[in-house]
């Protein structure tokens, strides 16, 4: 069974490589479906496989960059990436992350910041989860009363009020299908960037709902555009972590191989899923992430890791099911229409 273990020259450990492929596959699937990097899922997985913690974060960051590239390419083909919006938001995100990091450094000087950061994270995740489920409840009520928009019933529509702010320059985002002040995406990405920098995360978990509720992107466009941003920030992260010597490049490549397949499944599954299907699954993932952080705070590390892995497994299975069912139905319809046209001729 020696061949199942691969030597990692920089971390100096032998790792069960099929485990790396599986983690890559699962995170690729989930990331492609939700439009996020998924660092909160990868790091405990790598740790369980025996990766030293010092290398887990950097390796994860580089893998996310490559995986997001694969997903962005696929989403781009569907027309799910608004590049203009992505570039505008990158400006705000980068500035925000820097401000967030400075806040953390300031707080570190004052006292122990670790616990504060974790609790802020928990509160933020609780708010996001509440928002997602309240939105779903409201959309269901609207659908029952027959209030249905262009893309179906919508719950929370805060973005409509924010679009009324007409501070120049006004920009039209073609793929997302709306016009708003350029300051809206810049400010939203700046604030989400501060939170991401403060919490030490990539930010997809916060940016995706912000794109939907505050900027007004349809869910599919939010997923694609967010992945584009994750790709850019991931490459930057890969470079900085490599400079610190905290990347195991061999593991990155092995994980990427699995992630490339998963990313196709996750991305194509968005085609067969309704926007609210994606939002609800996202809400569940956020709740599980929140519970695992609370568990870690109270030193229940093993159950926290088990919860994360179970969440990954279940959500991954749900996405694969959507993809397979949708693809089978599409191919069946194609076949039927071909047979009908042949009979007609």
């Amino acid at each position: 069974m020696e061949w199942l273990f691969m030597y990692m020259p920089i971390a100096g450990v032998k790792i069960f490589w099929p485990g790396l492929v599986m983690i890559g596959f699962a995170v690729g699937t989930i990331g492609g479906f939700f439009g996020m990097g998924g660092a909160w899922m990868v790091t405990p997985g790598l740790n369980i496989l025996g990766f030293p913690m010092a290398f887990a974060i950097g390796t994860d960051m580089a893998h996310i960059a490559g995986k997001s590239m694969v997903s962005t390419m696929r989403h781009s083909k569907f027309g799910n990436v608004d590049y203009k919006l992505g570039f505008v938001m990158v400006i705000g995100t980068m500035c925000g992350i820097e401000v967030g990091a400075q806040i953390v450094m300031y707080l570190e000087k004052v006292g122990n910041v670790g616990s504060v950061v974790r609790w802020v994270y928990v509160v933020l995740l609780a708010l996001i989860a509440t928002l997602v489920f309240y939105d779903y409840y409201k959309a269901t009520q609207k659908k029952k009363t027959g209030v249905v928009g262009e893309h179906g019933a919508e719950g929370i529509t805060w973005y409509k009020s924010l679009h009324k702010i007409k501070i120049p320059p006004m920009v039209h985002f073609k793929a997302a299908g709306f016009t708003c002040s350029a300051w809206l995406p810049i400010m939203v990405s700046f604030v989400t960037g501060i939170l991401a920098g403060f919490l030490g995360i990539g930010g997809g978990l916060i940016r995706m709902p912000s794109l939907v509720y505050l900027i007004g992107c349809p869910t599919h466009i939010a997923v694609g555009t967010d992945l584009f941003e994750v790709m850019i920030s991931g490459l930057y992260g890969a470079f900085t972590y490599s400079l610190k010597g905290r990347i195991e490049i061999v593991a990155v490549f092995v994980m990427l191989t699995g992630a490339a397949i998963g990313a196709q499944i996750g991305t194509v599954a968005t085609k067969y899923a309704k926007g609210y299907g994606i939002r609800i699954a996202f809400g569940i993932a956020v709740i599980c992430c929140m519970i695992s952080i609370v568990m870690k705070e109270f030193k229940f590390d093993a159950p926290a890791a088990a919860l994360i892995l179970a969440t990954i497994g279940l959500i991954c299975a749900y996405i694969v099911k959507i993809m397979l069912q949708g693809a089978a139905q599409e191919l069946r319809q194609k076949k039927d229409s071909l047979v009908t046209s042949q009979h007609g001729a």
Binding site: Y7, P9, I10, A11, G12, A54, A62, A65, G66, K67, S68, M69, V70, M73, R74, K77, F78, G79, N80, A139, T140, K143, V148, G149, H151, G152, A153, E154, P218, T219, H220, I221, L235, A238, F239, S242, L243, K244, G245, I247, I249, V250, V252, F253, L256, T257, A260, I261, A263, Q264, V268, T270, K271, K274, G275, Y276, A327, E330, L331, K334
Partner: protein
């Protein structure tokens, strides 16, 4: 003899101070110093040669290592993207259009 003593003393003081001066020039790094163990890697085959090159770069020039890591990650990501695109096109699925239905 006195000059020699002074020189030795200066040498010792400089030797003790230099790491502090060097680290004061940039950001403070973590206490963990990691060195890639190249003794476990043989020179046979392309894969091992590549691993050895990366491990040597990690030990000797971290900037070269960082550039390689970023470039190779981007290139491998793009390669996999195009490869998967090609493979997915063979499935017969429509991968260029989708309907946006929220609810």
């Amino acid at each position: 003899m006195r000059h020699l003593k002074t020189l030795v003393m200066l040498g010792v003081i400089l030797g003790l101070l230099l790491p502090e001066i060097a680290s004061a020039g940039g950001e403070k790094v973590g206490n963990l110093v990691v060195v890639a163990d190249t003794r476990m890697i043989t020179d046979s085959g392309y894969y091992n040669s590549f691993m050895k090159y990366m491990a040597d770069a990690y030990n000797s020039n971290i900037m070269v290592f960082a550039i390689w890591c970023t470039v190779l990650t981007a290139c491998y990501g793009a390669f996999l993207g195009f490869l998967m695109d090609f493979l997915m096109s063979k499935t017969g699925l429509d991968l260029k259009s989708r309907k946006i239905i929220e609810h």
